[in-house]
Symmetry: C2
Subunit: 190 residues, 2 copies
Amino acid sequence: MAIKPVELSKAYRLLQVGPTTMISAKHDGDENVMAAAWVGIGGPNKVVAYIGKQADTRQLVEKSGYFVVHIPTAQQMEIVLFVGEHSKNTMPNKLDSLPLFYQEEFDIPMVEGCAGWLVCKVIPNSHQEQNFDLFMGEIVAAWSDDRVFKNGHWIFDDAPDELRTVHYVAGGQFYAIGKGTKFNHGPGVD
Amino acid sequence: MAIKPVELSKAYRLLQVGPTTMISAKHDGDENVMAAAWVGIGGPNKVVAYIGKQADTRQLVEKSGYFVVHIPTAQQMEIVLFVGEHSKNTMPNKLDSLPLFYQEEFDIPMVEGCAGWLVCKVIPNSHQEQNFDLFMGEIVAAWSDDRVFKNGHWIFDDAPDELRTVHYVAGGQFYAIGKGTKFNHGPGVD
């Protein structure tokens, strides 16, 4: 297992399968991780993330101008639910049990064990942020666990099932991504 | 099999598993259907859809102020690729081979055989539309095939596999949604 950089032009594919995500941010020594089900692609090399005003992580995003989108795996579903159910406001030691690491150049915590990580730089738009709680970010760096996303492609069917992405519905119910099929045509060939 | 209305407060769940979608629109008798991989939830009852300037369907969305997000199934993957690979500009009879139907009240074509359909009313924002090709829509009506999405919940594991949602990567490669797991806690319980 190795964490490898993902070519920026292909980083959107980490999100294109539509996984539930986690978002982390850090400002002035204060850091947090939240669950985020409403995160998608906002255009080439861009992410759109819904971050509600009740989320403590939001002010860290606003102040620092950066956030990291995590692509968690089936084996991390308890972590996703944990960070989604607990606020640092009521649980100050929320992050203590999380396995965090840092990539060089970016002082933002990342949760170990994910399938991928995308560092996003906020493209400021106060109208969207204030009225719709939507933050747009430009992807400036990305990494993947090369057992499951390699050379710009998901290889779920060759990887352990616990590395499949998770797709949350509600009430503790989620689905893992399933079986792959390949047609000999279709957009985005390479 | 029956196409049933989806309670608006739960319609976001059709999109929350992160499927690849199709988008249709109609204006003044002119109608079209496109593939759209970059469509997600933009907040409660809201959709954010990336619709590039090259898409013929875009002007129908702009002029009519409405679009329908389709949640296609594995059995429709050839249709998704077909509408993604062909433009009505170069193939005027593009829609002839598609099984279309209409719901009362909305004069917008819908493709038969999907797992769900969401009628969205554009929330105008010319800055986002022109600069980022992002269209925000409010979900004003939704339906699902109740064999696979019933009472506000996906029931993939009880439905035929060909009704699973599709998650496109690139180059003809897609994944179907996979196996479900239920925890006894988690946000969005009901």
